[in-house]
Every structure is written in C-alpha cells, then in structure tokens.
C-alpha cells in the first residue's frame, strides 16, 4: 500500500510527517536540526530514501545534510559554495553596485534519475550542482554571469534563486526563478541561460515589461506537459504554453493576485492551486479567511476551497516553497503556514484538515509518495 511522507522545513528545525494512502492519521517526527532554519529539504525521485536538507542560521551560516534512510539519520556533507571566477556586483537596494556574497541555500532540486546529483539555488542568486551526493558543490556560472546580472536587485527577502525545475522529457532544459530578477532557462544543462520574462509586467520597476527585474515568487510544472508553466509573481498569476518564451496572465477572478505559492494537481495538468495573500504590504490571507483557490481550467476561473480551513480571524502567510502535491489518486495537496500549521487535503482540495497545528513558522513543504 502506498504511503506519503511530508518533509517540512521550519524556522526552528525540520519535521517528517507520514501517513498511509488514506492520509487521515499522521505520525509526526522531529524536530530534526532543532533550532536551525531549514529552508528546504527534498527527496531524490530516483531513490526516495536519499534526502537532502539545507540548514542555516544567521549565526553559524550554511550547513548541508544528507540522509540515506528516509530522514531517520543524517550526516553533514559539503557546505562550501564558492562562486566561480571573478565575482562581479549586482545592484543593491539603493542602486549602487554590491558584490555577490553567498548567504544561504534556498532550494534543493535533486536530479530526476541520479540520486547523487542535486542542484542548489542560493542567495545571492546562483545555481550550484553536486554530483557526489552533496560532498562538493560547483557553480554553474553561466547564470550569475549572464549579461543582465549586474542589474539584478534583491527584493525584501534577498536576491535568491528559489525555484529550480527540471524538464522531465529533456534533462538539459531547466528553469530557475530569482527574486527579483525573473525566470531563466537553460537548454544545455546549465552552461548558458536566457531570461524568459516576455509578457510579465511589474510596476515596481521603471520599465514595466523589462527583460529582467520581475519579482517571480514561484513557478510550477506538470511533468506530462513541461512546456506549460504556471507562475505566482509578486502580483499576477501567469502561464506560459511555450516553455517560457511568452507569458500571459491568468489571475482572472481571484480576490487578489498577490501570493507566493503555485502548484499543479498530480493527475490533472490543468488543475492549478494558489493561495492569495492580501498584498505586498499585508502578508496574510485576505479577510481573515484561509482559502486555497483552485482552477480546473488552467487559470482565469478560480474557486475558493474552504472546507476545513479557518474562515475567520486567520492572518497567516504561506511562503513560496510551502505547498506540494503527492502522486496518489485522488491527489493530495499540502501547505504550511507562517503560523506553524500544516494542512492536508486527501481529495484534491475539496476538504482540508491540519496535520499539525503548532510547529514553528513553516518555510517549505515537500511530499514523497512511497510504494
């Protein structure tokens, strides 16, 4: 019988939540790495017992961990992230040049077919690769040295590369999203990258439809249709049908199109989930109601999913890496909040229940579907 394992990164450690396919009764284990910020942990699709975790702290810097037994035990691996070659500047908040400095790993994306290969998206924005299970890390410098990079500027959360997607039909094609530079695509396994932001409009930059400078919060893909991507931008929910060459808005009838997360149903490529957040100055859900919005038509028409979610006096946020779906049928949907709740829906969003109420603020949620 299938099982699911939900990997939760929080501001004070990691938690592993597990259940059978019914997804009603949960076992909660943790905290692992107690006291540390866990920006992300994720399992290898090629070997679900191989997990990688990014552990960081303002005091003690970046630490990386690997597990080979599904999170029961962990060992420290390499934590040296050195930019390749001469390190130039990016643009600082005041417009001045500012030297690139490694701060932390935001996102880990294991290879789809090799458990020893994993990519790391870091702040200040760059992508690193390990081919030896995290022991050593090398930058793929073509992204950070792109001709537009000196003009990239951080958002309030930092100049972070927070999303990496690998095309399952063509592993040489990958996407990386940077706040607040935009989305970039490589078609040669990371050697060269190009900005793919045509169609985005952002009023926080002088040229609203500039090639770069867009604060992309998250992108998502269904593996059966890798040319179709969905995006939650700072404001606006967007879609591309041509691998990012052009984007169009699908915010439609959402109550607000600001937010962080976006994800796609495991079995229905046109069913998309977002969680609207009031605004960029009010990082909590609108009207005190926690509502997931689902579109079954690939965008524009959205329905509020509220069954089992608090509908009054709720003022939480849901951060960009804090939503995931499992691979079961019906599809399970999961998200974690800044208030420490992790909610699960075992029926594609029709009903919800908290797995846990009182964790530290949730930074990331990933799900593994296990045989």
């Amino acid at each position: 019988m299938s099982k699911v394992r939900v990997l939760v990164g929080t501001r004070k450690g990691a938690f592993v939540l597990s259940s059978d396919a019914g997804r009603k009764k949960w076992k909660v284990e943790g905290p692992q790495f107690a006291g540390w910020e866990i920006y992300h942990l994720k399992g290898s699709p090629a070997n679900p017992d191989r997990l990688y975790a990014s552990q960081s702290s303002s005091w003690f810097g970046q630490v990386m961990h690997r597990s080979d037994d599904g999170g029961k035990t962990w060992e420290t691996v390499g934590n040296q992230f050195a930019y390749e070659g001469e390190v130039g500047p990016h643009t600082w908040y005041d417009g001045s040049p500012h030297p690139y400095e490694f701060k932390r790993v935001w996102h880990l994306e294991p290879s789809l077919n090799d458990p020893d290969t994993v990519y790391a998206g870091v702040e200040d924005a760059a992508i690193f690769k390990s081919s030896d299970a995290g022991t050593t890390w090398s930058e793929l410098p073509g992204l950070r040295t792109h001709q537009t990079a000196s003009g990239w500027a951080p958002g309030a959360g930092g100049l972070c590369l927070h999303t990496i997607l690998i095309d399952p039909k063509n592993h040489d094609r990958m996407y990386g999203a940077i706040s607040s530079a935009g989305v970039f695509r490589t078609d040669d396994a990371g050697k060269t990258w190009k900005p793919i932001n045509r169609g985005l409009r952002s009023n926080h930059i002088p040229d609203e439809d500039a090639e770069v400078g867009h604060c992309v919060h998250r992108i998502a893909m269904h593996p059966s249709r890798p040319n179709v991507l969905f995006m939650q931008k700072h404001w606006d929910v967007m879609r591309t049908d041509d691998g990012g060459d052009t984007w169009h808005e699908i915010s439609g009838d959402l109550p607000t199109d600001f937010g962080f997360v976006v994800d796609v149903h495991a079995n229905e490529p046109d069913t998309v989930y977002v969680i609207p957040i009031t605004s960029d100055s009010l990082h909590y859900v609108p009207d005190g109601k926690l509502r997931v919005y689902r579109s079954k038509s690939g965008g524009n028409e959205w329905e509020a999913l509220t069954n089992g979610l608090p509908q009054k006096d709720c003022y939480v946020n849901v951060l960009r890496d804090a939503m995931a779906v499992d691979q079961l049928d019906p599809c399970g949907v999961y998200f974690g909040t800044s208030g420490g709740q992790v909610y699960a829906s075992p029926d594609g969003g029709d009903s919800w229940a908290p797995i846990v109420h009182d964790l530290p603020g949730v930074l990331s949620v990933e799900v593994q579907t296990l045989a």
Partner: protein, 98 residues
C-alpha cells in the same frame, strides 16, 4: 587539556557535549584551537569562521579569562590559564532576544 565551550547549536551539530577538550602544542592561539576543532569535528567547518578567508563569522564571539578575544589577532597567544586548562576558551553566538 584545553577546554573549549561551544554554543548549544554547534554542540548538536558536532555531536559533542558542552566542553570539547583539545591537546595542542605551544603556542596556543585562536587559530590553532579553531584548526584543531575543525579537524576533529568537520561538521563545524564554516560555522565559526569563513572556510576560505578564515575570518570570524560576524555573530560569533570568542571569550577567555573574562576578556573578549573576538577581534584579537588569531595568532596571538592565549592566556596561560587557557593553555593550562584552568579557564575555558568560550565560543558564543551573539545574544538574541527582544
């Protein structure tokens, strides 16, 4: 034996108790202590000082014999009491709270 006291988060990371004992030849310096600490406990590399520049991380402090050694030269000899193991070399994270 030189007594080094680690902050709680680094004790957990290194899998050690509050005090780590080190045996070092003279001269005993901040650099010698950190080199030995990282060699014995590789998980600590990068958490106390930068791996490349060896510069102290900004929110880490070093105390010994009621003195702040954080900004002293890493090659300055530490007090005899530390060398003799009578006083510990403290590694601290800057205080957090509000």
């Amino acid at each position: 034996m030189i007594q080094v006291i680690l902050p709680a988060n680094l004790q957990t990371l290194a899998g050690v108790g509050r005090v780590v004992e080190l045996e070092l030849p003279a001269p005993v310096t901040q650099r010698a202590i950190l080199d030995a600490l990282e060699a014995n406990h590789p998980a600590l590399r990068g958490t106390i000082r930068d791996m490349t520049t060896k510069k102290r991380r900004p929110m880490i402090r070093f105390f010994a014999c009621e003195e702040d050694w954080s900004d002293a030269s890493p090659d300055s000899p530490l007090p005899d009491e530390v060398v003799a193991g009578k006083e510990p070399f403290l590694i601290l994270g800057a205080i957090a709270g509000g």
